[in-house]
């Protein structure tokens, strides 16, 4: 038993230590970062946070941008994925089967390599510098996994339920709306949260599609701090930004732990 707790502590240290170091840094004065043995007097500070919050544009702007893109992309994904997942389960032929394999391949694909073509599309149709249009490629990239996750949820529903509804005279769209969507709600929540997390964290496309400083998302904004200078990164301020940027995600993870885990693992099991 004792050995057990030692292992658990080690696991927690591994997962949290880098983050705790950020928290420590964010409350330290620049002098303290250089000399950790500094006396208590000017050891700790809130200056880093004040600097981040008062920057121009203010830090919460990026949080809002990321949230807008995240919610948009999640909604678009779910609206398109739910009917698709329903349909792909209903059709039982070779086409549907190979479609599922293609979706699986697409969801495994390292999407980073798609950035160039997506950038071309954005230029051609003038889709850059808009949070709404940015959600479209995000939704498209999330769709294969979302369809697979939801279709396995549909598949797990007892067939009788839908047939009982058919006999009652409930039409297809009403069935989806009143019977099936409420029943796959847990899977929908998992899928939605995973899509949201992906979108919130996405970097290469956000980097290439958005150049307007007022519209950049959180990962881009933070990377930009790093890019400002290779050698003299304002680490204190940056660490404060990291901590602030991580808080929403921590909340999501703590609140939706079950959904995230079931979403990720369903993908693996059913895929």
């Amino acid at each position: 038993m004792k050995k057990n707790y030692l292992l658990i502590t080690a696991l927690l240290m591994w997962s949290l230590a880098p983050f705790l170091w950020q928290v420590y840094t964010s409350f330290s004065t620049p002098e303290a970062l250089i000399n950790p043995l500094l006396k208590v007097g000017n050891r700790w500070t809130l200056e880093n946070y004040i600097q981040v919050i008062n920057s121009e544009p203010p830090f919460w702007r990026y949080l809002i941008n990321s949230t807008i893109v995240g919610i948009n992309a999640t909604l678009i994904t779910l609206i398109l994925a739910i009917p698709s997942a329903y349909a792909i389960n209903k059709v039982k032929n070779k086409i549907a089967q190979s479609l599922k394999v293609l979706l699986l391949l697409a969801s495994l694909f390292p999407y980073v390599l798609l950035f160039l073509s997506l950038l071309e599309i954005a230029r051609k149709f003038n889709l850059g510098n808009s949070l709404i249009t940015l959600s479209i490629p995000y939704a498209a990239l999330s769709l294969p996994l979302a369809i697979l996750l939801l279709s396995s949820a549909f598949k797990d529903l007892p067939k009788d339920l839908e047939e009982a509804a058919i006999i009652e005279g409930i039409g297809m769209f009403q069935r989806i709306r009143w019977i099936l969507i409420p029943l796959i709600a847990p899977a929908t929540a998992s899928t939605g949260i995973i899509v949201f997390l992906f979108t919130w964290n996405e970097y290469p496309i956000a980097l290439t599609w958005i150049s307007n400083i007022d519209l950049i998302t959180l990962p881009v904004a933070i990377a930009r701090i790093a890019g400002s200078s290779v050698y003299s990164i304002p680490y204190g301020a940056f660490a404060a930004a990291t901590v602030l940027g991580a808080i929403p995600l921590m909340l999501i993870v703590l609140l939706f732990q079950k959904q995230i885990i079931s979403g990720l693992t369903q993908g693996a099991i059913k895929g």
Binding site: P18, I34, V91, L116, N201, Y203, P219, I252
Partner: protein, 290 residues
């Protein structure tokens, strides 16, 4: 048919994002499309491909990318199995520990890459500080070409292990406990029960994680861009980063597309190879050991 209509909008979008680029990259790879041509594509009859074959930087990046991928995935899998075994036990606060252990995966790569840059900082980062207690020489983690790539692998492992841990954890939970109990009647050796029951039954989960992570690690980009910018002396540059630099810095879309298209081929070969290898190992062991 109505079902086709339901799925059509999603398929169109998926095709634009996944299907079209592959065709487009191939097409671009046989055209010149750069600042010199004013970014309008003009056929250049395979010049991009010849350049690629003779591009030492590209081949170095390829080797580095493969090195990064192999190291990262192998260590991750082993680590994830250990973590999953720990998390699969019953203890108080298991839910909270699980949540906290997902955090590295949930945080944006760029944010944590920047965090790692500070941790690897010379001389103020914690690692250099610990080293300085024992030695007067600094190891200059991020500016030593022999060490910097290990730092990128380390950061990648930290970030993606939770994901595999969860998949393996799900796998562990599908193994019925009676199997372990039945085995206990035969042998009390926990290690034997791991190799004879746990590992074989985890196989499908291991395969899916390995293939998925191979593909993702092969496309590594944002981590390296933020952590090292490919340096020092190009020692951490990946194919993904090189393609990005060609497009965004050198504004040579034709060549960038060639690199990406070539890496598609490489990646597919890679995954097929991994798949065959795994199957061979499975055939050899599964029937006879169990």
């Amino acid at each position: 048919m109505i079902y086709a209509l339901l799925i059509l909008p999603a398929l169109v979008l998926i095709f634009i994002v996944f299907g079209f680029p592959i065709i487009r990259y191939f097409w671009l790879s046989i055209h010149a499309s750069s600042v010199l041509t004013g970014l309008t594509a003009t056929p250049n009859y395979g010049a991009n491909w010849i350049r690629l074959l003779n591009d030492d930087r590209f081949w170095l990046d390829t080797i580095q990318t493969i090195r990064f991928t192999m190291c990262s995935v192998l260590i991750e899998i082993v680590l994830a199995i250990v973590f999953a075994l720990i998390l699969n036990q019953n203890f108080r606060g298991r839910g909270l520990v699980r949540s906290l252990s997902i955090l590295p995966w949930a945080l944006p790569t760029t944010i944590m890459a920047l965090g790692w840059r500070w941790i690897f900082n010379t001389p103020y980062g914690p690692i250099e500080r610990i080293v300085s207690i024992f030695s007067t020489n600094s190891i200059n983690i991020l500016s030593n070409p022999n060490i910097a790539w290990i730092a990128t692998v380390f950061a990648d492992i930290w970030k993606t292990t939770p994901f595999i841990t969860l998949i393996i954890l799900a796998g562990l939970q599908t193994i019925p406990t009676d199997l372990y109990e039945a085995f206990k009647l035969e042998s009390g050796d926990k290690l034997k029960s791991f190799f004879n029951i746990t590992l074989p039954l985890l196989q499908p989960y291991l395969i899916i994680s390995i293939i998925f992570r191979l593909a993702q690690a092969f496309g590594v980009f944002d981590l390296i861009q933020v952590l090292t910018l490919g340096g020092p002396a190009g020692s951490t540059e990946s194919i993904g980063l090189y393609a990005y630099l060609n497009a965004m810095r050198f504004l040579d879309f034709g060549y960038s597309a060639t690199i990406i298209f070539f890496s598609f081929i490489l990646l597919s070969l890679f995954c097929i190879l991994a798949w065959l290898l795994i199957n061979k190992i499975r055939d050899k062991y599964q029937r006879n050991m169990l």
